[in-house]
């Protein structure tokens, strides 16, 4: 005689227990509610980005001018093509994931294995692309001068094309300037890599080249950054120039407001971390599929649950793409 109550004879009685009004298993439902809470976390970040952007609405960097690179195409101005490619990769891996779920419903182990594998590959391509994107962003390519007030001054020629520091500045006066390292003085003080040039050298270079002008952060009525006159350019750099900035990190950012770089690192980093953990979970599930765990269980619901998470990562990217690169 069994002592375990499997069914308490309560079918048809609304309040008797055993009802499943949402017709979803516990695991799937909890995945949904985890996704809701994670979606709120991400919207918190994106809304904070929106806050900072509205706070600096007249001087925020223009994304088209920041993300202009494509791998193996040096010097080609290709705004957004690479992120569009990344978006497509992620959507594609979402498709293979949903195909894996579909194959799971038909208990087709071979197909689930194949589609899970393709999903993992898609995820890896995406994470790799993001690493490349970060690398390009951190290195920067034109360089700029930060003012005492923390604004960024960039350089353009008379036609409005960007000019890199290395094209008009000569490094000559700062031979004696040495990077402060832990071993050279107090053990708890050190500084980052020194910029290639000093502000003084930038001033000299600007004076020597009549066709170089300064561009400020302020966005004018045409939606472009303001370019100063020649006299005004020299005055700005001489009076306010404080620091030469090359590339971006959490403190300074050659593209404009440091907050832009901070949010870029934080939001795409947090999303990249989600993709990375998604890939790890997918790999675990992939091996379970290969080992036949779900075949014996006669249910591929685990694939469905991890699929929900994977689609959610794609969903978040759709929003990050819009708010970081398009809007």
């Amino acid at each position: 005689m069994s002592t375990t109550v499997v069914n308490a004879d309560t079918e048809g009685k609304t309040w008797g227990g055993g009802n499943q009004p949402l017709k979803a298993s516990y695991g799937k439902m909890m995945m949904w509610f985890f996704i809701v809470s994670d979606a709120l976390t991400f919207s918190g970040f994106l809304a904070a980005y929106g806050f900072s952007r509205f706070k600096f609405i007249d001087s925020w960097p223009i994304a088209d001018e920041v993300f202009t690179h494509f791998p193996f195409l040096h010097g080609v101005n290709a705004p957004m093509y690479y992120v569009a490619f990344m978006t497509f990769v992620l959507i594609m891996s979402s498709v293979t994931m949903v195909l894996a779920v579909d194959a799971g419903h038909h208990l087709n182990k071979a197909k689930v294995t194949l589609y899970m594998f393709l999903t993992i590959i898609g995820g890896l391509i995406f994470v790799g692309s993001q690493a490349w994107e970060w690398n390009t962003f951190i290195k920067g390519d034109y360089g700029a001068v930060q003012t005492k007030g923390g604004n960024i001054l960039q350089f353009v020629d008379t036609e409005g094309h960007r000019v890199a520091l290395k094209d008009f500045v000569v490094a000559d006066t700062h031979k004696e300037r040495v990077q402060d390292e832990r071993k050279s003085g107090l053990w708890f003080t050190s500084e980052g890599t020194l910029p290639t040039y000093t502000v003084e050298e930038v001033v000299n270079g600007l004076e020597a080249h009549d066709n170089v002008l300064v561009r400020t952060q302020i966005i004018n009525e045409e939606g472009e950054k303001t370019v100063l006159s020649r006299a005004e350019s020299l005055r700005q750099i001489k009076e306010n120039g404080k620091l030469v900035v090359e590339g971006a990190n959490l403190h300074v950012n050659e593209y404009g407001s440091p907050l832009f770089a901070d949010f870029f690192f934080f939001i795409t980093g947090f999303h990249g971390f989600h993709v990375f953990s998604g890939v790890l979970i997918n790999i675990i599930i992939f091996f379970n599929v290969v080992l036949g765990t779900y075949e014996r269980r006669k249910s591929y619901e685990m694939v469905e649950k991890v699929g929900l998470y994977w689609h959610f990562v794609d969903l978040v990217w759709v929003f990050v793409f819009t708010f970081f690169y398009l809007v």
Binding site: P21, L22, K23, A24, M29, W32, F33, I35, V36, A39, L40, S43, G44, A47, A48, G50, F51, S52, R53, F54, K55, F56, I57, D58, D64, P79, M80, Y81, A84, T87, F88, I91, M92, S94, V95, M97, V98, L99, D102, H105, T147, K148, G149, N151, I218, N240, S299, G307, L308, H311, F312, D314, L315, V318, F319, F321, T322, Y325, L326, V327
Partner: protein, 126 residues
Amino acid sequence: MAHAHNLAILRGLIKFKSNTQKIWGVLILLSIVTTVEVALGIVKPSWSLAPVLGMKLLNWIFIILTIVKAYYITWDFMHMRDETKGLRRAVVWTAIFLILYLIFILLQEGGYVFDVYKDGFIKRDF
């Protein structure tokens, strides 16, 4: 496991024969939307730069197209279309309500801080 999928999208305008076919159909739809977004972002036609409700028309188009994409990802890839009404509403409305509130509060405040900087006695341009 009997899984009945709702195979119609766009309010029944397009009906697919199988779930697999629907997946590819949705992929094509999402790809078209993304392509349109990227093309608009690169071309930036002059009509789209007109200000509408405090933002450029183009930005509104981007946001609407993003929500369209989010809808199809959730409804068809995550199979929200096949869940019960109760689960769907618990997930979707909770998120939408809280997110709208958060966005309203933060953007309103950001705009206010901008005005304080702009009109107040705070010097930023140095």
